[in-house]
């Protein structure tokens, strides 16, 4: 179990996103319709956006505290982020994408990742020649290879065809339980949230409308 203390206000132009959640979970779902502010929450956790107010503590580690002037940079947060468009480096092949990160506390070696995400046939391919599901697996491997304390996934199954979804979900479960990497998971399908997470934050229009076990709030 990982403790999540997410309390912040992010103002972007005319949009305000306000989050106040404390939870103990192995995986947290950020659930809600498009435009609810889910991706912005991930980017705040990753350190790519700076909230105007608040405090962000994950597993006892203060990542952001406006009042105490703490703002750990993305480079030092030890958080793996897989955005929805995955953003694999187009000029590097699969292997060099995966090994790009600077391993901090390497929990997962390349061999283990290759096995876990079924990557061996992809290793020497160009990333521009990969399918949606393959790109997602490579991006997951890249985020994990640097040994993150937390994994942020933005709709990881959105670009994956149906038969592949179950395999990626199974891999994510092994990442969560086998590797012990907690996950924050953005989705707008209740089934996905229920399959993988034990705590759900339901968002609408930048605000939290419900939070709790997925079975109760979704």
């Amino acid at each position: 179990m990982t403790s999540f203390d997410l309390h912040f206000t992010l103002i972007q132009g005319s949009v305000t996103i306000e989050i106040a959640v404390s939870a103990q979970a192995r995986a947290v779902a950020l659930f809600g319709p498009s435009g609810a502010g889910k991706t912005s929450v991930l980017e705040v956790i990753a350190g790519l956006r700076t909230p105007q107010r608040g405090r962000l503590v994950i597993d006892g580690r203060v990542l952001f505290d406006r009042d105490a002037a703490v703002d750990v940079g993305p480079r030092h947060r030890r958080i793996g982020y897989v955005p929805q468009d995955v953003l694999l480096f187009p000029h590097l092949d699969v292997r060099r994408n995966i090994t790009y990160g600077v391993p901090r506390t390497p929990r997962v070696g390349l061999a283990q990742l290759t096995e876990l995400l079924d990557l061996s046939p992809l290793m020497d391919r160009r990333v521009t020649a990969l399918s949606g599901g393959e790109r997602q697996r490579v991006a997951l491997a890249r985020a994990l290879h640097s040994g993150p304390d937390l994994l942020l996934l933005d709709e990881p199954l959105a670009a994956v065809d149906l038969p592949r979804r179950a395999r990626i979900t199974a891999a994510l479960r092994r990442i969560r339980d086998g590797l012990g990497v907690p996950i924050v998971y953005v989705t707008h399908t209740p089934e996905e949230a229920a399959a993988l997470t034990d705590y759900a934050i339901v968002m609408a229009d930048g605000a939290v409308v419900a939070a709790g076990p997925p079975g109760e709030v979704l």
Binding site: R75, R78, I79, Y81, L87, Y100, G101, V102
Partner: protein
Amino acid sequence: MSAEIRDIAVFTTLAALAATALMLGPGIALAWALARRQFPGKAIVETLVSLPLVMPPVATGLLLLWLLGRRGPAGRMLAAAGIEIVFTPMAVVIAMAVMGLPLLVRTARAGFEQVTRRYEQIAETLGAGPWRVFTTVTLPLASRNILAGALLGFTRALGEFGATIVVAGSIPGQTRTLAVGIYSFIETGRDDQALALLLISMAIALGAVIMANRLARAA
């Protein structure tokens, strides 16, 4: 081909290559800063960089002559160190670099502006520091523009005339370039030599255009 013609062609090509090498470091740094940073005096820097594009090259040459001449601000310091620039091959290289720099900076800047910031952000979340992000993500993703800009700068350097003749003169075997040579040969009625230099210039220019087109196609 006479030895004289050959020497002029070789010297010009080497000088243009040296000028390109000289402009690459500051050019890339300027292009990146203009694309990515807000800083006081940015508009002034932008104007200064573009100035050689719009000013008569002869005027740029005069400016360089004043700067690098023995009584000029830079020339005085160099002279104290025993370094003479004006009317030497070094002056040719500097004139070429100054004239080529705007083309490199403008093209490379567009390249940096096209690189999605989010790639750099992902690299940061993976633990990469600013220098590693720049050298392994930003620079490679902008490399095609940088290469195209360097090629433009190189061709501009090859054809440089106005600034070169003012700051370096037309000393045979010393500072005489293709463009300056063509002018000097016409002026002294040596039309055959002028024609030979013209053909060489055309061949080099053609090669550069073909390379530039290849680059554009590969992009």
